[in-house]
Symmetry: C4
Subunit: 292 residues, 4 copies
């Protein structure tokens, strides 16, 4: 979105809408930065309230305080949502943007609970956790500090390695399907008498694939584990494979980051000998001594 | 296999066999790419059908649909298998190749179940999961996109590090045998009265080695864990060893990848001796001394 | 702190206070090094005594020996604490420094237990484990050996990567909150009848976040694990995410360390402007253009 | 040990002792390589026999075969041990070397079981697993192939990083002691009534340290896990710490290996312009074009 303040052809320049727009949607001015920090604190507090509500003991003791806090934040975010629509240059576009939908979803649950029909409906109340999605706005805070360049470097390294990571992930998924199917064949109970046999955790291929992912990522809950000798042997092979395979993506991103940060970004050319590759702080050409 | 279309000495050039061969076995032409993509989708769907069949609740509800889908894919893959044999320049060679055997194994189970003798045999029905092996054909899809070069880079890095990885794996295996034996000695129950004592999970060396692999790869199911003080001490040492040892292969592949991608891509050619591979800061050819 | 021995304007130079100060607070002289090593051994032994006291069987057998050893180390550390206050140039500053508070906390518990009011109070006795914090003094030992430069290199690499690590950790925490909330929604029991339903381990958002951290760091205790199909699917996605995400910080620090150690240590000084930091292949000073 | 064959001042040169010495203790000659490979196969088979003996079902079925195989390998290794002593130039030195002691320990258990006094003693029989230590001889096999240089590169990288790894490990151990003590304080049961309370797994500091190591290395058995809110919070912090800390040693070794393999070992200097840093395959100076 272009900055409306620099767009002199519109009559509402410097009007309240433009000023609100700069504060709410941008983070370059001091007021905009302050708004973003205050909004982040409000989101963190509202998430904390939802967390406390989910703990039974806390909810019973401080029910009144928590309900009031929830209504306070709901009204605050409703106000913010209204102002965003009011001052956005293209309100429809904001409403159907990712953040617009999250902002709406974050305030809806509280109103839905208040409706007489749904009163006491537990599933509605629990929807309040959708508010946690608003934490994604925290990524805006990176615009405030020098973290932006760091976050950009990370994103670029991951982006540069996307094809390698895709190859790696597809290899992992194929291994998960094949090993999961094999374990279902080895460890799965007798399928003639379903219902009688004990659930070994390998009764269907999706369950075996869940086990394969738990094992390959070295999480290893232990809620499902092989019991037969052949199953244990295959599991051991898969663990060694998973243990070795973490190497590959690690090496990929390491190499990307090492390359990214090792390349000097100076493109200065010596006017006399046309030599390149000078350091950022060089005043003279390091080959011919000419002034840069 | 050389491209038969460029092989003008055979009369069947441009015949239906050659055209089918180009479509089915190669991926350079638009028709070949389309065939590979469609085949991959069919494989994915057939694997999905086998997965659904393994889930009891789904199987009971949609038994009819699943059986029909299985027969549809079996007949489709049988047709594909027949066409592959028909148009391959050396059918015998294809039949006994890895993919040829997998293709055959993928269609056999459905026919075996249909035989009157084996009807209802659960172990036969479950063999349908062999079809998951066909997912290996998914690696052909990498030929379609620019992922090929990425996959090649990964394979080369792993291949270059194969000797180091072999040294590392043999070290891991020796450690697993020695620590597994030691834990059997420490934690294994009294072998005088087998059958009476509780199964501690360390009753035989293979079981202890299974535990050692589960621990060293940091999977840690918890189905087997030491109970004595000495066993816990040894286990703790082994965990720290396994935690530290993941470093070694990671470092190896990182260094390989960094070296591989760190090679400067200077494409300068010496005007006198036509040699390549000069450094970015070279002024003279390093082979003949000619000015670059 | 400046070295008082080189500060000739004070009359207490070479007095007992200065000599004690050099021995106790510094590690450059042989006496200072000896003191640090002996102190470290005393701390290790005292921690060992506290450990033995916490083991019931050992405590019952050797109660007398352990009590005596505890009093011996308590008196020893009290003496050391007194001498440190006596010879410190700014006693108040030492008392309220981090190490001063730890030194005080390490000796307090034994005295508190001896008080008649608190006699037999188990929580007081157990406070003796605070003494383990004194192990932090072990980091001083790095000053003694050539490990100092290694520790410095590590600290610098971590410090240089602090912004990237902060971005990474905030991403992890936001993912933990969102996934934890989602799992509470999916796996949490019916909140209408609290007390009746089984504790699934997802009964509150903080508990779900605990599970999310256990899963994402690939620890995977298995005390809490999803049981529904949707929960298992989400858990599997999170595991793959956590498995892939360990790449990012690893790559960051690898690149930092590679860069740090990759900097060429050229010590060439320009004969004209005395500037340093030239590249290995520089022919002219990059600041003044003078021939190197 | 110097090669006795090149030591012409001894009369037993080319005698049977020298020839046996060359075959048994060295791996440079074809006979020596063959001996090492055969010995390795014999060790692997003997370890396999011990493994089979430890499995109850196998041991009952093939008791006779296993006993015979064990005696065969014991006599074979006794013969080898005797020949090693006979042909070693300094027999005493060999007997008290690491490999000499392992060789002796590997044959002792079988003889001890045969003694009438110890007959049927299970602990003696199980000592046969000591034979697994002989697998360490497998590292000699690296002398046979080109793996030697790879193994050397790995050893050098680890050796170069030894100070950094020591700093890292001491940091890990201090963290384990402090967090273990803290968890004992938080999760440990009431120590007033030992014997009554349930064993939470945090009843003593060593047990808490075992938990801390299991958690920090991300193994996570789940046999011991925190139950209180404060304990879970501390555990979550420790997991994130352990998850982040694996970075440090990985980065260290990566950087060491990258440096080791990235540094060009050419020290050639151009005789005309004295420039350095030429590639290994350079024939002319890349700066002035002079012949190297």
């Amino acid at each position: 979105m272009s900055h409306p303040a620099t767009d002199g052809r519109r009559e509402e320049t410097n009007s309240w809408r433009t000023r609100l727009y700069v504060i709410i949607f941008e983070a370059d001015t001091p007021a905009g930065k302050l708004f973003d920090v205050l909004l982040l604190i409000a989101i963190l507090l509202s998430v904390l309230v939802v967390m406390c509500e989910s703990v039974d003991s806390l909810e019973e003791e401080h029910r009144r305080l928590l309900v009031r806090a929830e209504w306070f934040f709901t009204l605050l975010f409703t106000l913010e949502y209204g102002v965003r629509i009011a001052c956005a240059r293209r309100p429809i576009r904001y409403i159907f943007s990712l953040y617009g939908i999250i902002d709406l979803l974050a305030i809806l649950p509280t109103y839905l609970i208040a409706l007489p029909i749904l009163e006491g409906g537990p599933s509605t109340q629990r929807l309040a956790v959708i508010r946690a999605l608003r934490l994604l706005r925290a990524f805006r805070i990176f615009k405030l500090a020098h973290m932006l360049s760091e976050a950009t470097a990370l994103r670029q390294a991951i982006w540069a390695a996307r094809a390698k990571i895709a190859v790696f992930l597809s290899f992992v998924l194929i291994a998960v399907v094949i090993v999961g199917s094999a374990m279902h064949l080895i460890e799965g109970g007798d399928i003639d008498s379903p219902g009688q046999d004990v659930d070994t955790g390998f009764d269907s291929i999706p369950e075996s694939m869940y086990w394969a992912i738990v094992t390959m990522t070295t999480v290893g809950y232990g809620d499902v584990s092989p019991t037969t000798g052949l199953g244990k042997t295959l599991a051991a092979c898969m663990m060694v494979l998973g243990y070795c395979m973490i190497i590959v993506p690690t090496g990929i991103v390491s190499a990307e980051l090492a390359n990214a940060s090792g390349t000097p970004p100076t493109t200065q050319v010596c006017p006399e000998c046309m030599a390149e590759g000078h350091d950022g702080d060089a005043l003279h050409c390091k080959y011919c001594g000419g002034k840069l």
